[in-house]
Amino acid sequence: MSTVFIAFQTNEDTRPIIESILADNPHAVLDEQPAMVKINAEGRLVIKRESIEERIGRDFDLQELQVNLITLSGNMDEDDDQLTLAWKN
């Protein structure tokens, strides 16, 4: 199984996003580096709009992720409700 990852800048916007990702993906591993946070996960990682909205208390458009996104790895699929990263092997 291969690892997918996503990395964000460390800041106030991304804190609730990272919390949501870790809550929704119990197998994900947090890797904190200077100025950035990287989340690694075996096989697949899902980011859910609803979980982020619960934490920030307002509507959230998943495309807002792009503002603080640093990098990612894996085949991506995004719709209005979730963004998925996966290796299909």
Binding site: F5, Q63, E78, D79
Partner: protein, 518 residues
Amino acid sequence: MDMKTTKKKLGLKEKYAHMTRGLGWETSYQPMDKVFPQATFEGIKIHDWDKWEDPFRLTMDAYWKYQAEKERKLYAVLDAFAQNNGHLGITDARYLNAVKLFLSGISPLEYVAHRGFAAAGRNFPGVGPRVACLMQSIDEVRHAQTQIHALSNYNKFYEGFHAGATHQIERVWYLSVPKSFFDDAFSAGPFEWMIAIGFSFEYVLTNLLFVPFMSGAAYNGDMATVTFGFSAQSDEARHMTLGLECIKFMLEQDPDNLPIVQKWIDKWAWRGVRVLTLVAMMMDYMLPKRVMSWKEAWEIYFEQNGGALFNDLAKYGIKVPECLTQCSIDKEHISHQAWCTFYQYAHASAFHTWLPNAEEMDWLSAKYPNTFDKYYRPRYEQWREMADKGERFYNNTLPMLCQVCQIPMVFTEPDDPTKICYRESEYQGEKYHTCSDGCQHIFDDEPEKYIQAWLPVHQIYQGNCFPEGTDPTAEGFDPMLKVLEWYHIQNGKDNLDYEGSGDQANFAAWRGMATQNT
């Protein structure tokens, strides 16, 4: 962020369909193949362009909104940096030499990428990739601009920032390495460009440049660089998905595309790896505080991440690039070999070099247990001894360059790190030299392309690198000084050792002033 509306907005998928597919049309005054003349000559067969889908499903309206947000964040930081003497917050002014190399070697590539993606967008008949290329083209010009803006702050205070991104990229010997990479890609067709830049450079390689190095910039207190770096890399995330999508699209469209794509992957993986030698050196030698070694970064971002990618592509019949075996040997050597080269040629470079101190050498020993003490530490100790005796070693002979990657012949044989590696090919009765099996293979496949290379050393010997009106027969003619003049490198200011440089003296003095009132 958005105004509340009562009418339900279009979903992401619907909006993407309207704003891409919905904008295309079949031409009527001219046949489509005349309007898109570059779409077929490379041999790639596409049957249905509508099968192309951007996984981010980004449309122009959303693009402008989020890019504007990124710019506002970035420029707020740059203002704060300038207003608060941010340049005095860095760990050590040696660090700035990595930034000089970035500005001169990488920022101009962003600009060429901007032009290249504009051209690719023009040349693809499919609407999906055209929109994605348009966005990427705008991203790339944004990167060039924000990098130059961010680093212009340093130009007010330090040497060597004045000409890199414009004048020097066209001339200086080591800058021909990144420049020729992009020239090679841009002079290929649109599909090869997508593999070269969209796939190899963006997907497989930029993580190594923009992630651990930028994190390193943060570690060294350089708020300006880390901010533009991460801002740029947020676009790269989109570029990577575009590169990956492009490769899957080509492979799914026609089985005949596989061997062509495989050849390009092999070629561009190796071309990219060679260019990254500069980044390897920046990480291992030029960051006073280090986040991770080049070898560690390579293992995370190339071996693990690239491995996952190639496993995924195996279902299409794609094999891992041929160069991988050599890469896993090279990862323990290239940063040291590159820094040794720049140390010897510090008089001809637009940044300062230095010998690693005792603590730094111990760090390198720990990170490179198989190679550093055996092959490289003795070299630095010898040079240290010579420098202490007032005999600082400079290499005054111009090196032979590889005909393909244009790096001086400094790399060693895969099975013998004490022996310089070079390969020889013959074409139309002339001999050409390359630095490795990888570069030789690329040369032999398209010799008619690479014999046209503008090789800085050859050009110097041919007398093409002196200021206009130079008379090489005049008394006291010094070719090196004339070349530096032509490079716009100020001899004694921009080049030579960091120890004793104006940058070193000024940084110490200004930092002193920042903490005292006298």
